[in-house]
Amino acid sequence: MPKRVLLGLLLACGLTAPTLAQEPKTGGVINAVIQPEPPGLMLAMVQNGPVQMVSGNIFEGLLRYSPKLEPQPELAESWSVSEDAKTYTFKLRKGVTWHDGKPFTAADVLFSVEMLKQTHARARNNLAQVDKVEAPDDYTVVFTLKQPFGPFLGIFEVGSMPMVPKHLYEGTDWKTNPYNNAPVGTGPFMFREWQKGSFIRLVKNPNYHEKGKPYLDEIYWQIIPDAAARSVAYETGKVDVLPGGSVENFDVPRLSKLKDTCVTGAGWEFFSPLAWLWLNNRQGPLADKRVRQAIMYAIDRDFAKDVIWNGLGKVATGPSASTIKYYTDDVKKYPYDPAKAKALLKEAGYKGEKIRLLPLAYGETWQRWGEAVKQNLQDVGMNIETIATDVAGGNQKIGDWDYDIAFTYLYQYGDPALGVGRNYISSAIAKGQMFNNVEGYSNPEIDKLFADGAVATPDSKRKEIYEKAQKILVEDVPVAWMLELQFPTIMRCKVKNLITTGIGVNDGFKDAWLDK
């Protein structure tokens, strides 16, 4: 194989292509909503959505990703891959400083890798293929892998692998380090103030390494716990940006029609949230493939998309979202067909055994969806009992496999090896944990395909493997795939360039500006 050099083309300029029509203006303040309140802002210690959204402005990763999930430079200005696809060399930007003025060097990268292996579950899994990390000089970092790992370049965005200041964390108790609540990063904005329960204030980093950026002076993240109150805050002009998922879905069409309001569904390509129903494959009627297929036929997913999600999103065809690599729709199809569902249930010998359905306690939209699915399943003769819990209780039930059908949605992180395989391979069956193979599906062929797919080269080989895996899974229906979710970001039209990458608002506001 010829030496593949995936040179970082310094595409930061290219990323902002849509702005070329208008010259960015500097200055101004953006008020955005954050919900729920982040538990902390140290991205290496906590990684829930709100933390990423705020801290994506403070911290940075080595790379970011375009909407097509191509790697782009961030703290690494270029990178190359060896011929055997086992050595990745990153050249770091020079002249980058932490917010306290200390220089950012390769030593910080090495420290971050070691810390994240202990504090960041996803990073630990992503780094499992790494044999060693070395720093030949202050601005070069070399990752040597145990074997080729296809999605390796996809693990370096800020939420997956944030860079941590070695000089502030080395030798300290990480979990009680005072910088956890006053974080110091290299990002375009610096932490200034956090009034718990009210707001988080970030201010422009005047020494940011991309000259001229950021354009904004300040960002206020307003903490408003009630969904209706968040809508009102936007309507009354108190906030300018409602990141995806901030308001109930049924409020989106109404808010979208407000004066000077712009809406975009972009910025979720990397995460590609996919909603499905966990089906407990271990016991009862759901252990029979025909019953699981009947569930796919029984549920009117177009209705869910059009009515419950107000036309947002896309009906899922299988385990991969259409926005991630190696997706194929050349799989068995499950249109809404109650008659076929009834026939399959009859064939499987289903006799009205009680089936427990666990909706997701994420608000009104999910509650309504739970009711619609229950109705669909009852219509084909299934005996459904809804179990009401809060999020914590629901998570525990799912992790303990104490359910029959349960709603969920998960991120896919751009590559089947990072965000799909974990839900179907038998080595990911582990009681007490969520987000792995909690349905208990076990198929040696699938295990082998995902194992091979992660390390196969070239890309065409990976494609072939993952397409085959998708076909088998869609036939077996280990879980019932529902929708590729879309969480539109609602904002004032004067806010320009808010979303420029596939990571969306989680990637920071460094390109955003206000057309005052």
């Binding site: 303040v29 008020n31 729920p36 309140e37 538990p39 902390g40 140290m42 210690m45 906590v46 990684q47 829930n48 202990q118 960041h120 579950a121 996803r122 630990r124 899994n125 979990k175 009680t176 956890n180 609540n181 009034q195 718990k196 329960g197 009210s198 707001f199 204030r201 300040e218 206020y220 307003q222 903490i223 408003i224 716990p225 009630d226 209706a228 109150a229 009102v232 805050a233 309507e235 009354t236 108190k238 819990t389 809060d390 999020v391 914590a392 209780g393 998570n395 525990q396 039930k397 992790g399 998960l410 991120y411 582990a430 007490g432 944990q433 969520m434 987000f435 792995n436």
Partner: protein, 323 residues
């Protein structure tokens, strides 16, 4: 009186400790493990991560040992550490308590003052249009759920009329100080305090009215009238004062309910108090923080009840403190 107070404080401390122990077990009865919640929020979970978190929370220790550590902490005024929020519980509560006190005490004062005033008017003019109007409004406010009143208030006063801010404690980013800051906070306070106070105001109105009508029929009122006292004096010194006892009792009981109502009000109006802190801690199974808020709220209820007992004596000097 001092020995009465000392005795009540001692009893209060014992009750508080019993509440701590009870809550400690109640919280752990709820399904949902804090380590699993945090792992869930991280978007990934493996056994190493969950075990790390359980160790951090001290959840890997036997339950009696966890209880001993917690009670020992409470006795030494250490409410523990919130690992989710990465800060001491006392600090987190301390940051939020003033906002809740401001909200609940304002709501309490408004509801008590207006409730007694309207109740007195209704009783004084019993059977008239004024009485009917007050009774009907009191019934409406009594029946309406707090969250609905809150949303309607926002719709009317924020969205439609643009008179009052719809959320928060102050105007973020305005950097106001002194009197202008106080005015700004007051503007933000009006809707949440009224929302929280309306239900209680309705209750006190109805209670004052009923109680006054009952007292009015008693012999000593007739005697006062026979002595030739003016109507105003009779109403104020004889009827109202005697009629207030059940209202004071109810107000004491309501101190706990007010904090419960604050959870909803603070959530809808994004008021940064401990009601919301408690709600978030509950959803996230942040045991130490939740227990800490419970301890503070229980202490507040006990203090309110002690104050109620003392107020009894002021309202009715015939009541003696049994020691």
């Amino acid at each position: 009186m001092l020995s009465f107070i000392a005795q009540r404080v001692l009893k209060g401390v014992i009750v508080l400790l019993a509440i701590v122990v009870l809550n400690f077990f109640l919280i752990r009865l709820a399904p949902g493990d804090p380590a699993v919640v945090m792992a869930g929020e991280a978007g990934a979970s493996d056994q190493i991560f969950v075990n790390q978190l359980r160790e951090k929370f001290g959840l890997d220790k036997p339950l009696p040992e966890q209880l001993f550590i917690y009670v020992k902490g409470v006795v030494t005024l250490d409410l523990g550490f919130s690992f989710r929020q990465q800060a001491p519980v006392a600090k987190l509560i301390g940051e939020r308590l003033p906002a809740t006190l401001l909200l609940t005490l304002t709501a309490f004062a408004i509801s008590l003052a207006l409730g007694i005033l309207f109740g007195t008017f209704a009783a004084r003019f019993a059977g008239t249009f004024l009485d009917t109007a007050i009774t009907v409004f009191a019934l409406i406010f009594y029946a309406m759920p707090i969250f609905w009143v809150a949303l309607m208030g926002i719709l009317l006063f924020s969205v439609t009329m643009d008179w009052l801010p719809s959320f928060g404690y102050e105007t973020v980013g305005a950097n106001l100080t002194g009197f202008s800051h106080a005015v700004d906070v007051a503007k933000h306070l009006i809707m949440p305090a009224m929302t929280l106070g309306l239900f209680f105001m309705a209750t006190y109105t109805r209670m004052t009215r009923a109680s006054m009508l009952e007292v009015k029929r008693l012999d000593f009122v007739k005697t006062a009238r026979a002595k030739g006292l003016s109507d105003a004096v009779i109403q104020r010194r004889h009827v109202l004062r005697n009629a207030l006892l059940p209202v004071v009792t109810l107000a004491g009981v309501h101190s706990g309910t007010l904090i419960g109502g604050a959870v909803i009000t603070e959530t809808v109006f994004a008021w940064p108090g401990i009601g919301r802190l408690m709600y978030d801690a509950l959803l996230q199974r942040d045991y130490n923080l939740l227990l800490g808020v419970f301890v503070i709220c229980s202490a507040m209820v006990l203090i309110f009840n002690l104050i109620t007992d003392l107020v009894y004596r002021l309202v009715d000097p015939r009541i003696e403190f049994a020691s």
